[in-house]
């Protein structure tokens, strides 16, 4: 059984500039214990979707079923306090007038034990709070006043406050966006481990592709209130169905052309300069229609004049080849970013830090057919 089913969710806001379709016909479902991410640029409707699931916003249309219980539909809206959920907010929303323990045990006076369905006796609450704080390694701060916490500690308190009720569904709205880069990396794995260990289904909202790719079981890429693509991190990254998705999940090269021939998923695209690129063609475009060819900079290889490559210089290599000149080289430590000018435009490449490339080199750009997506 799915822990969450969202069907045809719609939500519009009336603003001074007119109607904003924040969520526009969104459907997805989340399996038990699954880590599911909503990824998309700022303002695409991720938070609104999440808030509809939480019940903090009333959907205009659509259905939401949590753990088999219909919580939102045309005729019904279960308030947030009666949904079996927990949530961590972007600003953490730690109540400054309470202690850490006060924050964590707040819900226990309202939500019962999901196992027995009964209320939790006063005497037990502190023990439960302690348990939750131990999960996030903050048990030593239980009686501290909430304002005297660092950002990272507040984030952990927010997490403990959510986990203490043992929710079926955990909602996380950009929980790491207020932390510094290093802490953010650490917390990624901690959050994922915790939810996996406790077997809680999780919706994670973020605009950081790195977080989304490294943490999720599945990702829904959103743009303008719609889900553009839904799939595993690999599917989304390696086989985006549109240029937009490709750009949201990472940096990408785009070349324009028209389909020269197509045979199922395989096909050839003729670029403006007349090159034929072998590609995977997604979508329903026919021969002659114009398409974008996408490929990731880190899947690009560069051959300098004189370099020999068995694939290319052998009889019939599968790689596409574009001749060009290196226009810019930036050494970034763990990689070299390089911009190559070709007849079809600039191609960005991400190379090993030890590659001997220099500005002005005449080169050939190599892209395997499997990493070129035309759509």
């Amino acid at each position: 059984m799915s822990t969450l089913v969202v069907k045809n969710l719609k939500k519009a806001f009336v603003t001074e500039g007119g109607l904003v379709n924040a969520v526009d016909d969104v459907s997805f479902d989340i399996k038990e214990g699954e880590f599911f991410t909503l990824l998309g640029p700022s303002g695409c409707g991720k938070s609104t979707t999440l808030r509809c699931v939480a019940g903090l916003e009333h959907a205009d249309d659509g259905e939401i079923v949590i753990d088999g219980q219909m919580v939102a539909s045309r005729r019904k809206a279960v308030p947030p306090n009666d949904r079996p959920i927990a949530m961590v907010f972007q600003s953490y929303a730690i109540w400054p007038h309470m202690t850490v323990m006060g924050n964590v045990t707040f819900s226990l006076s309202y939500r019962g034990d999901p196992g027995t369905g009964r209320g939790i006796p006063r005497s037990e609450r502190r023990a439960r709070g302690m348990e939750a704080l131990k999960l996030v390694q903050l048990d030593h701060l239980a009686d501290r006043k909430a304002p005297y916490l660092s950002g990272g500690q507040q984030q952990r308190v927010a997490l403990a406050r959510a986990l203490v009720v043992r929710p079926k569904l955990l909602l996380l709205d950009e929980p790491l966006s207020n932390l510094d880069a290093k802490l953010r990396e650490e917390m990624r794995f901690e959050i994922k481990d915790l939810t996996k260990k406790l077997g809680i289904a999780t919706i994670y909202v973020t605009h950081d592709q790195g977080e989304a790719l490294s943490m999720s079981d599945r990702i829904a890429v959103m743009s303008d209130g719609k889900i553009m693509q839904l799939g595993t991190p690999r599917e989304i990254y390696l086989a985006p169905t549109s240029g937009r998705v490709a750009r949201i999940v990472g940096s990408v090269n785009l070349l324009h052309g028209a389909i020269a021939n197509r045979n199922g998923r395989l096909g050839e695209v003729k670029t403006g300069s007349g090159h034929l690129l072998r590609c995977l063609v997604v979508g329903t475009k026919e021969v002659g229609e114009s398409v974008d060819v996408m490929f990731r900079p880190e899947l690009v290889r560069i051959l300098r004049a004189g370099d020999v490559d068995s694939n290319v210089d052998g009889a019939e290599g599968p790689d596409n080849i574009l001749p060009g000149v290196v226009r810019a080289v930036v050494f970034a430590g763990d990689h070299i970013a390089c911009q190559c000018e070709t007849a079809d435009g600039i191609v960005a490449a991400k190379l090993m830090p030890n590659s001997p490339i220099e500005q002005g080199d005449d080169i050939r750009v190599l892209i395997s057919a499997g990493s070129c997506i035309a759509s």
Binding site: V14, A54, L56, I85, A86, S91, W95, S107, Y110, R111
Partner: protein, 589 residues
């Protein structure tokens, strides 16, 4: 979509569906319903009754026939136009002067190296602790044309210059009212402006100094224009409260035959024989109409000024303008203000309160000073009755106002967009109600069916209702600001945590707002104690409070007793005012 008929049909159904859901939501949303109901009762009902009465022949409790006669009479009386002109003249000149002084003081205190700035802050604030009526009455003691102490002194000192039995200051005149209004208005404007001056980005001024302008050129060409929207808004607010001026108009204007709108209303329903409620209602309606226009203009202005981004918290360094040899003269100006508004009037009051009852008010060393007036008051019953009334009125008004303000603001800030505008407008309206018209409206409300069945007319309850109506606008504005600063996510976290909306309000929102609620409570309490027009117009044997007691004693010539009451009132208001400053400055940081 095959035909338009089908389309409109389905959209109509959708619409019905929506309406049904909205009603459902509204009912579940009972705080909103309650807030609207109370506001309608407090704001719209009195307004409507005044309007109806202005079109009726009868008196409160017996409205009689419909008629336009009242309006005709009002527009045919030259007195109407004269009062209107006086009111506008006083408000305009008075505001101009107070604005200039307040801007100067705010700049001196926040942006220059004037000495004793902290003391100056208190000097600017303390006039709040002196009720207007005491301030005005003290000045009549000093400046009344015949017996005014200063006038007498001047005539004695310079007989060749000032001959005759009155003057040189002809205080009972438009000029007298303007004088009082202008120095009284400074504090309000100062308080509204001082934050803008404090947060003003000094880099703007420094750039001007580097560009070659001197201190005063910089003030005039950079600081002043940059703060213009804030200054305009404060000035407009002050203009509105000057229009509302009653105490000065009553104690200084009326003896000289100078009518203002407020005193004209008062005269018509209280002094004239026989009183004419129809006419009074018309004056009230006109008065309110003018005020509503002004308040609408004011709202426009503050909407603009909020968009103006001259004030930034960033890059603040306390670099102050150096005044050089003007440092002490600048402080002398502030000190003079303190003397005129607080020291001198309170000295007069205290002195009066120590003199024998009925002794003519002249500077005469032979008259013995004693505490006998206080002793008599403390031994009598009246003081205790009046104190009881004042305390219960004050506590009830402040508590009711802040509770309502919290409820209403919560709906405004957290409610849906449409409901918000409506509520916001409703709470802004009382800014446009002069105290005097609220009081008169209360007469109509509580003497007409159905509320005449409640035995509250002439009790403290009426005062509480009237004052709450008057202060609800301030209370909601304060709470709006405070609630906006409580991030919505803090409340959402409570809801998601399983708490019902009421539990969230009680356990999360309210505790976070306690400092603002306390500050607002004290503000309303202090203002209730100082309020004058409402208790005076609604005064009866059962609801005398300090302000109305002072006035009625004064009118029957028991000056010393009135002064004793006044002195005691100020002794309570002083610490409250200082506490308020403490709380407000803490809330700001």
């Amino acid at each position: 979509m095959t035909s338009t008929a089908q389309f409109s049909n389905s959209s109509a159904r959708q619409h019905l569906h929506k309406v049904g859901r909205n009603v459902h939501r509204a009912l579940r949303n009972w705080p909103f319903v309650l807030a609207v109901a109370i506001l309608l009762l407090l704001v719209i009902v009195p307004l409507a009754l005044l309007f109806v009465s202005s079109l009726s022949t009868g008196t409160p409790g017996n409205l009689g026939e419909w008629t336009f006669d009242n309006y005709e009479r009002v527009f045919q009386t030259p007195e109407t136009y004269r009062a209107l002109r006086n009111t506008v003249v006083v408000a305009t000149i008075g505001t101009a002067i107070s604005l200039a002084l307040a801007v100067l003081f705010a700049w001196l205190i926040e942006r220059t190296d004037m000495p004793f700035r902290n003391l100056s802050w208190s000097i600017l604030l303390l006039p709040i602790a002196v009720p207007s009526i005491l301030f005005v009455l003290s000045w009549t003691v000093l400046l009344s044309p015949r017996a005014g102490l200063l006038n007498v002194m001047l005539r004695d000192a310079l007989p060749f210059l000032f001959a005759g039995k009155s003057g040189p200051f002809q205080f009972y005149s438009v000029g007298g009212v303007i004088f009082l209004d202008s120095i009284r208005g400074v504090t309000t404007i100062f308080l509204m402006l001082v934050a803008a001056f404090r947060l003003f980005d000094p880099a703007l001024e420094e750039a001007s100094r580097v560009g070659g302008a001197n201190t005063f050129q910089t003030f005039y060409r950079v600081t002043l224009p940059a703060l213009a929207p804030a200054i305009l808004a404060a000035g407009m607010y002050s203009f509105i409260s000057s229009m509302d001026n009653f105490e000065g108009a009553l104690a200084v204007g009326l003896p000289g035959g100078v009518y203002m709108l407020s005193t004209l209303v008062y005269f018509t329903v209280s002094l004239r024989v026989p009183v004419d409620y129809g006419l009074g209602a018309v004056y009230s309606v006109l008065f309110m109409g003018i005020m509503i226009l002004l308040v609408l203009a004011y709202r426009r202005i503050i909407r603009h000024s909020e968009q103006y981004a001259t004030v930034s918290g960033k890059g603040y360094r306390p670099s102050r303008v150096s005044l050089g040899r003007w440092r002490y003269p600048a402080f002398a100006l502030v000190a003079a203000f303190g003397i005129l508004t607080v020291l001198l009037p309170m000295a007069v009051m205290a002195w009066l309160s120590l003199r024998p009852l009925y002794a003519p008010i002249v500077l005469n060393a032979d008259v013995p000073l004693s505490l006998v007036n206080y002793a008599n008051l403390f031994n009598g019953k009246e003081l205790w009755r009046v104190t009881g009334n004042t305390v219960s009125m004050t506590i009830a008004t402040a508590t009711l106002t802040m509770a309502l303000a919290f409820l209403i603001s919560w709906c405004i800030v957290r409610g849906s967009a449409r409901g918000r505008g409506f509520l916001d407008g409703l709470t802004f309206l009382p800014y446009a109600f002069p105290g005097i018209t609220i009081a008169i409206a209360m007469i109509f409300v509580f003497l007409n069916p159905p509320l005449n069945l409640l035995p509250v007319y002439g009790t403290v309850v009426v005062l509480v209702v009237a004052l709450t109506t008057q202060y609800i606008a301030f209370g909601t504005r304060l709470m709006n600001g405070a609630i906006i600063q409580v991030k919505a996510e803090l409340e959402d976290a409570g809801t998601v945590g399983g708490a019902r909306p009421l539990a969230v309000m009680w356990r999360i929102t309210l505790p976070l707002l306690i400092p603002a609620v306390i500050a607002g409570w004290i503000w309303v309490a202090a203002n209730s104690m100082r309020s004058f027009s409402v208790p005076v117009i609604l005064a009866s044997r059962n609801n005398e409070v300090f302000a109305s007691q002072i006035w009625s004693l004064w009118q029957i010539g028991r000056f010393s007793e009135a002064a004793a009451y006044g002195t005691m009132l100020v002794l309570v208001l002083f610490p409250m005012t200082l506490l308020l400053r403490r709380l407000m400055s803490r809330a700001e940081t």
